[in-house]
Every structure is written in structure tokens, then in C-alpha cells.
């Protein structure tokens, strides 16, 4: 199936928003105005967008500590997210959660997570719910190459197979879990998809720095899952362009590694090159998108800065629905 011009521009816009959002945070964090730990998604944009572009608000995702990209790709309000990261009263989660705990159930985003590996079992539960509802929806767990080593992830994969839940395990292999390389930490010869296969589900592999490859592979995968065949997995080979968290000295990187990644593995650059070569779009359209996105992020930051802080008197609210 051919992507329409609107589809293409939309995909580029979502990736560009993630990129600019994160690059801006990278700069703003240095000013000291933003508190806490922030893990940037830069480099992995094609993964989140290539997956989420197939989903409706009724398809659910669970995310990770590196969740900004998943949130934006799933349709979370960018200004609300920025306010949350600035710890503001009107942030998406009232300033209680911050960067690592953004959620917006209205768009099917069940939450970023500070506990590595906590998401996969929750996605299986959400998939069981989707199966009960019978509308053909799916639930997706984004997990990293590090998270794939948690027992919770193993248990979730087996459970999904056993109950034939429409759960999808998206493994974003960016080759690092904090300061440790995937070559060391994943015992199955750094291959994550084969683990999923070993649990009894079908698994795909795609280039997570290529929107088109991710998107087309996910199309096939989703057809399979939505047809009632049970869970599936996909391993996306992708890259993290910044440190594990902001402030990480990244001494584990090889010489020239980051320069090479920006040169060879930039999904936005690759997207432009592909649509230009194939003459799918006038690249000026994408320049316009860039300008729009720059404006949006500028507004998001200035509005977040000016927004009121939470009232300390409300510190213990929302612990229960009813108490």
C-alpha cells in the first residue's frame, strides 16, 4: 500500500516534533531549570512513529523511562508534556510524574515507566482486555535491549503466548542499557527477536532508523496479530544519539561513534533522502514542517516556563479515587 502525501508529511512531522522536543530539552536541561532525570529519545524517532502510525486511540501502548517519543507518536499533547517535564501544575500529570511518568489514557498511552521491565506484563493485561472487548485492538509494550533481560519481560511473553493475547512486544535495540553494551548483556548472541521466537511467537526484525522499513514491517505484523493469531514481537535496530540520561559522560562510546551515528543513522535525514530520491514529495513541504515544528516547540517551552507551579497543599491528592 502506498503512503499518501499527507501520510508522509504527517510521519515526518511527528518525527520532527520528537527530534526538536528532545534537542530543546538537551539545551534547556543545561540551564538547571528542569529537575530530575531525563532520558532523551533522539535517534529512535522512526521506531516510535513507524509503530504508532498504525494505531488508533483504542490501541494501547505502554512505554519506558525513555518515553517522550512514544508519547508524541501516540498523540499526547506536546505542550502538556513540556509542562509536565518542567514540573508545572497544568502538566499532563499535574507535575507529579515528570519526564519518566507521562501518561495520557485518552490517547491510549498507558504510561512511561521508571521501572525497567515493568511495562511488558501490563501490555499483556491490556491485550487481554482488548481481546475481551473484541474490537480488534492491540496492546503494545515498548521495551529496550536492557528491559528484555528482566524476568518480567520473559514472563509476559510466555503469558501472552499461553492466552493468545493480541500483545505486541516492540524491542528497541539501541545497543546500550545505561553503560552496558547489548553484546554483553543479551546472552542470545545479542539477538532479541529469537528470544521472542523461543517463547513461541512470531517475530520480525526491522531497521529502527528507517521509517519505511519499520512502518512496512509493522503493517505485516499487525495484520497477523489483528487476525487473531496471538502475540508477536519485533526487534528494531536503532540508535540513541545522546547519553543514557542528560549529564551522562558516555565514556562507553567508541571514538567517533556519535559523529558516525549522526552521519549514517539519522532517521530524519534518511526520510528526506528517500522521499526526495523517489520524488514522493516536494522537499520544500518538509522545510515548512520544520519551521512549524520549531514554532511549536518554542511555544511549548515558553508556555511551560511561564506556567504556574503546583500548589504544595495538593501534595497528597490523587493517591486514591476514594478514601
Amino acid at each position: 500500500m502506498q503512503l499518501s502525501r499527507d501520510d508522509l508529511v504527517g510521519a515526518y512531522r511527528r518525527m520532527a516534533i520528537i527530534r526538536k522536543f528532545e534537542e530543546r530539552l538537551h539545551d534547556e536541561i543545561k540551564t538547571g531549570e528542569i529537575a530530575g532525570f531525563t532520558h532523551l529519545y533522539c535517534g529512535q524517532e522512526a521506531a516510535a512513529v513507524g509503530v504508532c502510525d498504525h494505531l488508533s486511540a483504542e490501541d494501547l501502548i505502554v512505554s519506558t523511562h525513555r518515553g517522550h517519543g512514544h508519547c508524541i507518536a501516540k498523540g499526547c499533547d506536546v505542550k502538556g508534556m513540556m509542562k509536565e517535564i518542567y514540573g508545572r501544575r497544568d502538566g499532563l500529570c499535574k507535575g507529579r510524574g515528570g519526564s519518566m511518568h507521562i501518561a495520557d489514557l485518552s490517547v491510549g498511552m498507558l504510561g512511561a515507566n521508571g521501572i525497567v521491565g515493568a511495562g511488558a506484563p501490563q501490555a499483556v493485561g491490556a491485550a487481554i482486555a482488548a481481546k475481551l472487548d473484541g474490537k480488534g485492538n492491540v496492546a503494545i509494550a515498548f521495551s529496550g535491549d536492557g528491559a528484555c533481560n528482566q524476568g518480567t519481560t520473559f514472563e509476559a511473553m510466555n503469558l501472552a503466548v499461553v492466552v493468545k493475547a493480541p500483545a505486541i512486544f516492540v524491542f528497541e535495540n539501541n545497543h546500550y542499557s545505561e553503560h552496558t553494551g547489548v553484546d554483553y548483556a543479551v546472552g542470545t548472541n545479542k539477538d532479541i527477536a529469537s528470544r521472542a521466537e523461543a517463547f513461541g511467537m512470531k517475530a520480525w526484525r526491522a531497521n529502527g532508523c528507517d521509517y519505511f522499513d519499520t512502518y512496512e514491517t509493522m503493517r505485516e505484523l499487525l495484520e497477523y496479530v489483528r487476525a487473531g493469531n496471538g502475540p508477536a514481537a519485533i526487534e528494531l535496530d536503532t540508535e540513541r544519539f545522546y547519553g543514557h540520561f542528560e549529564g551522562d559522560p558516555q565514556r562507553y562510546r567508541g571514538k567517533g561513534e556519535l559523529d558516525r551515528l549522526w552521519e549514517e543513522r539519522d532517521c530524519l535525514k534518511a526520510f528526506r533522502a528517500k522521499v526526495g530520491e523517489a520524488k514522493l514529495l516536494d522537499l520544500k513541504l518538509l522545510d515548512d514542517v520544520d519551521a512549524e515544528v520549531a514554532q511549536l516547540i518554542e511555544e511549548a517551552v515558553s508556555e511551560a516556563r511561564a506556567a504556574p507551579p503546583p500548589d504544595p497543599a495538593h501534595v497528597a491528592e490523587d493517591v486514591y479515587v476514594d478514601y
Binding site: 529537575a35 510524574g97 521508571g114 521501572i115 528482566q150 552496558t180 553494551g181 548483556a185 507551579p309 493517591v319
Partner: protein, 336 residues
């Protein structure tokens, strides 16, 4: 005596003890760092800076970088300890105790008792804990009360570099599982550390200062907050007995009760929610064992019954403050 901070004291103690006892092994996430990367191993030496140099000195068999698998980290520590080693397992954030809880609670804590006193499980678990870095609900908690409630575990919380050395050495010489809590906001705290062999017995609280009017009992980062409050109160002629528990299991009840018997007033400061907390536990002990000495009800300064929030304004409101401690002391003195 050398002057160093808590981070350095922990690193040096690990070095010295591993040198002394070849049964000690260290395991955890990124305790070496850089495994399987182009930058090479020991690229970081632990995200908290407490384990650099260990890998270079003791090698990969004794200093083990693990995948992200807390249940396996703590379970492996339990098994290695049963098999005669002395593992020091690190939980990068104490909150991750949730992932590994069974191995602590149903396993490590209970082996000796269940097996009729025939085994020992000399594992040390280092838990990096505490609020103050806007790390939000899953990276800020002080889970010591929960572990203190588990028979079979010893729970240790150094507040000074000297205690970091003395208590960690004691943990590594003893034969029981020890939960060694390191407050992330205290790593830079400097102080004198005794040279050579130095052990601090568990269950022996530290009298930080003696003032006679009101007793403040606390531990960890709250000891410093207690000192700030005590300074302010001293300016008004109010004297505080400030007790740093050092260990919550075993608990130095005698130090607490002795002080309360002379002051008649106690404030317990606890960086955790109030229910089933250390504050509640100590207040109950004092109420039942020193009732006739009390001139006012025990006061508890804790966080609210909520998770720990992210935003600066909210986190500040959540954490007990020197001001709240000071106010509580004044209220106790005004009570009649």
C-alpha cells in the same frame, strides 16, 4: 584519620575488605560499567561512583556486571552466600527492591530460621535510597521500614563517612544478610574516617548531641536536618538530644529510652510515609515502655501518606524539613 566523603569511604572499604577476604564478590548493574562496549570496561565504575577501581583490581570473576535483572541479582547473592561466598549486591535504586522482593523476603531473610539454624546467608545488599533529587515516585523511596519489619534481615543506614566504613566492615564480617542503605543525597558528605581496621557494632546508636530538653530520633539524611533544627533551637536556649540510630534492625532501644526518660519528649523524624513507619514503630515503643516519663505525646515528622512527587515544590513539601522538626520540638515544649 583521613578525611573523605561517604562515597569514598564505601569505595575504600570495599577495596580493603575484598583485599582481605577473597570470598567477597560484588555484583550489580553497571558496577563496572562499559561491558560489551567500544569504550571498554570500567568506563564508569558504578553510576554513583562507589565501585570504581574494583574491577581493575579484582577482575571479572569477583566484580560482576549484571544485565537488568534485579530478581536474579538478589537471588544469585542469596545462593552465593549459602554456598560460602560473601556477595555484595547493589540495587542502583532502593525502589527496585520491588522487583527482587521475594529473594530478600521469602529467601535470604528466612533461610537460617527455616533450616533450623543450620545455614547462614552472609549477603550484603546495598540499596541507594532517598528523596531530594526530583527523581519522582519510583526512584526516591526510603524502603527501610519495610525491610526492618522482616525478621532475618539487618538494616543499616550510615549518615557519616566513619559510619559508612564501620558499618560496612561490620556487615562484611558478620554472618547475616544486611541491607545497607546509602542515601543518594549524602554521598558527598565529608568527615574523618578512622584508619586501619574499624568496625561499628550494629544496634548501637550515635548520640549526635546532648541537650536534655527534647529527644530527636532519626537516621540517614534526616540526621543532618535534625542538627539544623537543633542549632536553631539552641539559639533560643532549647537543648536537644539528637540520636542517629545507625541501624534500625537491630534497634538500640536503650539509647532511645534512656534519653526519653530524662527529656520526657520525643520527636521521631522519618523520611517515609507515616503508616507502619519507623516513626510509628519508635513512637509505639516509647509509648509502651517509657509512658510514665512522657510529658507530651510522641511526635512523628514524616512525609504524607502519598508517593513521592516530581515537581520541586511538591517534593520539598513531601520531605520532612528542619523547619518542621523545629516546630515539632517547640510544640512539645508548649504541651501541657
Amino acid at each position: 584519620m583521613a578525611v573523605m566523603n561517604i562515597r569514598e569511604a564505601i569505595n575504600k572499604t570495599l577495596m580493603d575488605e575484598m583485599e582481605r577476604d577473597s570470598n567477597i564478590i560484588v555484583l550489580g548493574e553497571d558496577v563496572v560499567g562499559g561491558a560489551g562496549t567500544a569504550g571498554g570496561q570500567e568506563a564508569i565504575g558504578g553510576i554513583w561512583g562507589t565501585t570504581p577501581g574494583l574491577y581493575a583490581k579484582f577482575g571479572a570473576d569477583r566484580v560482576i556486571d549484571t544485565p537488568i535483572s534485579e530478581s536474579a541479582i538478589i537471588g544469585a547473592a542469596a545462593g552465593a552466600a549459602l554456598a560460602g561466598k560473601r556477595p555484595v549486591a547493589e540495587l542502583m535504586f532502593a525502589d527496585f527492591v520491588g522487583v527482587s522482593l521475594d529473594q530478600l523476603w521469602n529467601q535470604m531473610a528466612k533461610f537460617r530460621y527455616m533450616f533450623g539454624g543450620k545455614t547462614k546467608c552472609p549477603a550484603v545488599v546495598r540499596l541507594i535510597y532517598g528523596a531530594g533529587m526530583n527523581a519522582a515516585a519510583q526512584h526516591s523511596q526510603s524502603v527501610y521500614a519495610m525491610l526492618t519489619a522482616m525478621p532475618g534481615l539487618k538494616v543499616v543506614l550510615p549518615a557519616t563517612p566513619a559510619d559508612a566504613k564501620g558499618l560496612l566492615t561490620e556487615a562484611l564480617r558478620g554472618d547475616d544478610p544486611v541491607m545497607f542503605f546509602e542515601h543518594k543525597a549524602l554521598y558527598g558528605v565529608k568527615g574523618e574516617v578512622p584508619d586501619g581496621e574499624y568496625r561499628q557494632r550494629f544496634g548501637e546508636a550515635r548520640m549526635v548531641r546532648e541537650g536534655g530538653d527534647v529527644t530527636i530520633v532519626t537516621c540517614g539524611r534526616m540526621v543532618g536536618f535534625g542538627e539544623k533544627a537543633a542549632d536553631k533551637l539552641a539559639a533560643d536556649g532549647i537543648g536537644v538530644d539528637l540520636i542517629d540510630l545507625r541501624t534500625t534492625s537491630p534497634l538500640d532501644e536503650e539509647a532511645i529510652l534512656d534519653s526519653v526518660e530524662s527529656t520526657g519528649r520525643i520527636v521521631v523524624v522519618d523520611e517515609s510515609p507515616p503508616r507502619c513507619s519507623l516513626a510509628a514503630d519508635i513512637s509505639a515503643i516509647v509509648a509502651s515502655k517509657a509512658f510514665t516519663s512522657l510529658k507530651a505525646p510522641p511526635a512523628m515528622i514524616t512525609g504524607p501518606h502519598s508517593p513521592i512527587p516530581f515537581a520541586r515544590e511538591l517534593e520539598r513539601a513531601w520531605i520532612p524539613s528542619p523547619q518542621k522538626i523545629e516546630d515539632a520540638v517547640r510544640q512539645l515544649l508548649a504541651f501541657r
